[in-house]
């Protein structure tokens, strides 16, 4: 399987059904997901609450086991510990040891990668600088951290091993606008370094700014997949853009267009916002219901 081995993430018919204590089906959280993320791309996973985004990530990391289907990550079956060497993961909330301070946290995760203490001594402050935690807060226990600070230390631990594939579950929640901007810059710089990023987010503007391709999940099913630009194209409308055109000229152009072709005008397809697309996709699949409520209920 070349796709399975060459791509960063490759899933086939990946399905997750949460069962209750007695083994009865409770929630079909992910349904037959076929997804391929290429190496080096920034991929956005979108969807309303409860659509299965986090479930997908957990499956890819082996935190939970698939009910059906397969998932490969960096060429190896999901959940194999060896592949974790090259993965960085930022969970939806910062699930870290709250009694450790920032530096200790990074050192701990560094040791799990068997990074020599010498290198850790250098890398830990470096990373803390990258994610923007100042000297004072590095020495404070995580339980005293604000939400944004916790998010930053969470990001730092995800990057401690200089991973090839980074899974970010809603990385910008809790961050201030500056932090959000920095996060986006960071993702782009990771892309420049040739790393693969899988990004889950609700903040559509973020996704639009950084993602190469996206998919939208709804009720555990993949609804759309493609280049961000392609997906946002509206093909039945043609837009003509010129600069400094007088109304007279415009009528002439219109006159001209009525008869023949055009030479001095750029004609492009206009884009809607991602938000429009998002709402449209969800609406199309929820006849007569509010998408969010529909997304959560079963």
């Amino acid at each position: 399987m070349t796709l399975a081995t060459d791509s960063a993430v490759h899933t086939e018919h990946l399905t997750k059904i949460y069962r209750d204590f007695w083994g009865r089906d409770k929630v079909r959280a992910l349904d037959d997901l076929n997804l391929t993320i290429h190496r080096g791309e920034v991929f956005g996973l979108l969807g309303p609450n409860g659509s299965g985004k986090s479930t997908t990530i957990k499956l890819l990391l082996g935190l939970i086991f698939a009910t059906r289907g397969t998932a490969h990550v960096l060429g190896q079956p999901a959940g194999s510990t060896t592949i974790n060497e090259k993965i960085g993961f930022l969970p939806e909330e910062s699930y870290l040891y709250r009694f450790l301070n920032g530096e200790e946290t990074l050192k701990f995760y560094g040791r799990l990668f068997k990074i020599p203490s010498k290198d850790l001594k250098r890398r830990v402050p470096e990373l803390l600088d990258v994610v923007g935690l100042d000297q004072k807060s590095r020495k404070r226990k995580l339980r005293e951290y604000s939400k944004g600070m916790a998010r930053r230390i969470g990001l730092a631990q995800a990057l401690i091993n200089n991973p090839d594939l980074i899974l970010l579950d809603e990385p910008t929640t809790g961050l201030d606008p500056i932090g959000t901007r920095e996060m986006k810059d960071l993702i782009l710089s990771l892309k420049e370094q040739g790393k693969t990023v899988l990004l889950c987010s609700h903040l559509l503007a973020d996704v639009q700014d950084v993602c190469d391709r996206i998919t939208i999940l709804f009720r555990g099913k993949m609804q759309t997949l493609g280049q961000v630009r392609d997906l946002l194209q509206v093909r039945d409308i043609t837009q003509i853009q010129t600069r400094g055109m007088t109304p007279q000229q415009l009528t002439e152009v219109q006159e001209f267009l009525r008869r023949t072709g055009v030479t001095d005008a750029t004609i492009t397809h206009p884009t809607t916002t991602l938000e429009d697309l998002f709402v449209r996709v969800v609406r199309e699949n929820t006849p007569g219901a509010d998408p969010r409520i529909a997304g959560n209920g079963q």
Partner: protein, 694 residues
């Protein structure tokens, strides 16, 4: 009674071991082979460090000062019987508190840790690193082992300091009282010993190989041994046999063993050492009135006496009477003829008796010979008894079964003599005369270490006194060391003894030096009986440092805490923490609990309960009985695969001032590894198959 349970136990112990091996091989070596190869101590240690930091930052160690305060308060309330007892009790409190502390702490910490990490999802960031679940499990065990180790170090330091302080105060006190002459005679030897070696010690102890009670000090040149009359002594002669041995020599038909019964042919000598009751009475009665003729009496050398007699009985290997009285010698005593014991006297054992003796594939019995009459002592030698199996016709020569003496073991080369046997042990009657009953305790490979002129022994025995003697009288003991090889006998040491209290006495090193010697004790106080068991006397072979002993006992506690951690973690891999805590306790106490219940789990108990419940209907009673038996069998089986925490008894020895033998550490380690490693393997397998999302 418990032999059946024990038998079952050994079998299921074996299945338990197989189960353990299967789990370890299957779980770790096969299923977890890759993770085993990947195992990194760096990662496990990092994980353990987090457990450690968490405990420290949650201020778990703060419970140690609380425990210390508790111990000090309880120690103030104790009512010791003497200084040594005060120290003993203090050691007990300290170690009990320590043990309790680490067990509770480790159970709670270890059982809640994984569920909590899964609940707070911290586990997400740990398992998505290249950590294997094996490293997580081992790392957690290591981490809590570090925590319990820290608690043990703190408690150990406190215990050591506190005990040294108390012991030095008490020793000063003893010194002053000795100087002022304020010590009871019974305490003198022991106090002198405490003054010399202090109250905190760790002795290594040598026990005698056996204990025999003779009526007279054995003569090394002769194989004759003496036991007391008046049923105060008895002889035991071992016989080993096969069923076929009891087939009559001329039985060519159905060859039923025991058809012709058997004859015990005994040669017992005797000596009159005092008046018989009849003589006593005759002497006291006024002249002219004859003594009432109660029992057949005999005239020997012109004197009117009750005849010297012995009774023969058959005992099983637990030294319990096996055959009913009338099966052997018609249940009556046999009169002895010549004092030298040359004439053999037959004692008939009935065919029924022999058949009963052969039941249950028995291959060994003891012939028990006892002299009921007062005023005599009886002599016995290795050739004093044989068993004859007579033929069907009188012309046939009987088969001869010789006693099963051992050629290799000098302790089993002769009839075994013991004192009157009661609840607490064997009696040693007192006698202020030159000669009298003597306890002989052979030691082997028991060379005392050190170089002092004297070697210390300890004696703890019960004391009973007969009749209306004034009970204030002290019991005096005389001890002698004898070396059979060199023939050297030490000068006697005399000391006073108090009932059931350890007393120290000293003997010169000379005869003891090569480690092959006998200790002989005589009771010099008339009408007092010493109650002795083979472990009543022991030699203090050497002294180890108390601190080292304390270290050993703390180490055993530490091993126990690791086992507790493993069990708690195992339970928490698949249960919520409150249930995990309960299950951990059940696993820990299960083996012990079933042992406590062992009497009610005996086969046959179900039946008697059914009767007690008044189940009239036989089918109902049968159903009840069989389900009860199945249940108790199941319980016993389950308990045998649970760990035996009694192997972690760290306090017993150190409390007694005895050095903890390396074997104890080894036993504790065996239980830890034998149970802990399979548990660890299971925890790993469970955790690997667990979705760590809440």
């Amino acid at each position: 009674m418990s032999s059946h349970l024990l038998g079952d136990f050994e079998i299921s112990n074996f299945t338990g071991a197989i189960l353990g091996v299967v789990i370890v091989v299957g779980g770790l070596l096969i299923y977890g082979f890759r993770d085993l190869l990947r195992f990194s101590i760096t990662r496990a240690w990092a994980i353990s460090s987090v457990c450690w930091s968490e405990s420290i930052r949650r201020k778990v160690l703060w419970i140690t000062p609380l425990a210390i305060i508790g111990v000090i308060i309880v120690a103030q309330l104790q009512r010791p019987s003497d200084e040594q007892d005060a120290i003993r009790q203090t050691i007990k409190f300290c170690l009990f508190a320590t043990g309790l502390l680490i067990v509770i702490t480790t159970i709670i910490l270890a059982a809640t840790n994984l569920p909590k990490e899964i609940d707070t999802r911290v586990i997400y960031t740990v398992v998505t690193k290249p950590t294997t679940r094996l490293e997580i499990v081992i790392g957690k065990v290591l981490g809590f082992a570090r925590v319990s180790g820290a608690i043990l170090i703190i408690m150990g330091l406190f215990t050591g300091l506190y005990l040294h302080l108390r012991a030095s105060f008490l020793r000063d006190d003893i010194r002053q009282r000795l100087e002022a002459g304020l010590v009871n005679p019974t305490d003198l030897a022991s106090y002198q010993h405490y003054k010399d070696v202090g109250l905190l010690n760790a002795k290594t102890i040598e026990m005698p190989k056996q204990m025999e009670v003779f009526a007279r000090v054995p003569d090394p040149k002769s194989k004759v041994r003496w036991f007391s009359g008046n049923s105060e002594g008895e002889a035991l002669i071992p016989f080993e046999f096969k069923k076929e041995d009891f087939i009559a020599p001329d039985d060519n038909q159905d060859k039923t063993p025991g058809k012709t019964g058997a004859v015990a042919l005994i040669k017992i000598g005797w000596d009159q050492v005092g008046p018989t009751p009849e003589e006593q009475r005759a002497g006291k009665l006024p002249i002219g009135i004859a003594a009432p003729d109660t029992k057949p009496t005999t005239r020997i050398a012109g004197k009117l006496v009750r005849a010297p007699q012995v009774m023969v009985r058959v005992y099983d290997t637990n030294l319990n009477q096996l055959l009913p009285g009338n099966a052997v010698g018609n249940g009556k005593g046999v009169d002895l003829a010549d004092p030298a014991g040359i004439t053999p006297i037959p004692v008939y054992i009935t065919p029924q008796g022999i058949q009963q003796m052969l039941q249950g594939d028995r291959t060994k019995i003891f012939l028990n010979i006892i002299g009921p009459n007062k005023g005599y002592e009886y002599s016995i030698a290795p050739d004093s008894a044989v068993l004859l199996i007579p033929g069907m016709s009188e012309q046939t020569q009987p088969k001869v079964l010789q006693p099963a003496y051992s050629n290799n073991n000098p302790l089993a080369a002769m009839p075994f003599l013991r004192g009157r046997y009661g609840m607490g042990g064997e009696q040693l009657p007192g006698s202020s005369k030159e000669t009298g009953p003597v306890v002989v305790l052979p030691f082997s490979n028991a060379a005392p270490s050190g170089s002092g002129a004297q070697v210390s022994f300890q004696l703890r025995a019960g004391i009973e006194n007969s009749g209306d003697e004034d009970t204030e009288k002290l019991t005096q003991i005389e001890a002698v060391a004898y070396n059979p090889k060199s023939g050297e006998t030490s000068s006697p040491t005399k000391f006073y003894l108090e009932a059931n209290r350890q007393t120290i006495f000293q003997l010169p090193r000379g005869p003891l030096a090569d480690g092959q010697f006998e200790i002989r004790l005589r009771n010099l106080t008339d009408d007092h009986y010493l109650i002795l068991r083979p472990d009543s006397v022991s030699m203090i072979q050497s002294m180890e440092s108390f601190d080292f002993n304390l270290l050993k006992s703390l180490f055993i506690l530490w091993l126990m805490s690791i086992l507790v951690t493993v069990i708690a973690i195992f339970c928490s891999t698949w249960l919520s923490w409150p249930i995990a805590i309960v299950l951990t306790l059940v696993i820990l106490l299960g083996h012990w609990g079933v042992q406590q219940l062992s009497d009610t789990l005996q086969p046959g108990v179900g039946n008697s309960i059914a009767q007690d419940l008044g189940l009239q209907d036989p089918s109902k009673a049968k159903a009840f009985t069989s389900s009860y038996e199945a249940l108790s069998k199941g319980l016993v089986a389950v308990s045998t695969i649970l760990p035996d925490i009694s192997q972690f008894s760290a306090t017993e020895d150190i409390e007694k001032g005895v050095a903890i033998a390396p074997q104890r550490l080894f036993d504790a380690l065996t239980v830890l590894l034998g149970f802990g490693v399979p548990m660890l393997a299971l925890s790993y397998v469970f955790l690997r198959n667990k979705e760590v999302a809440p």
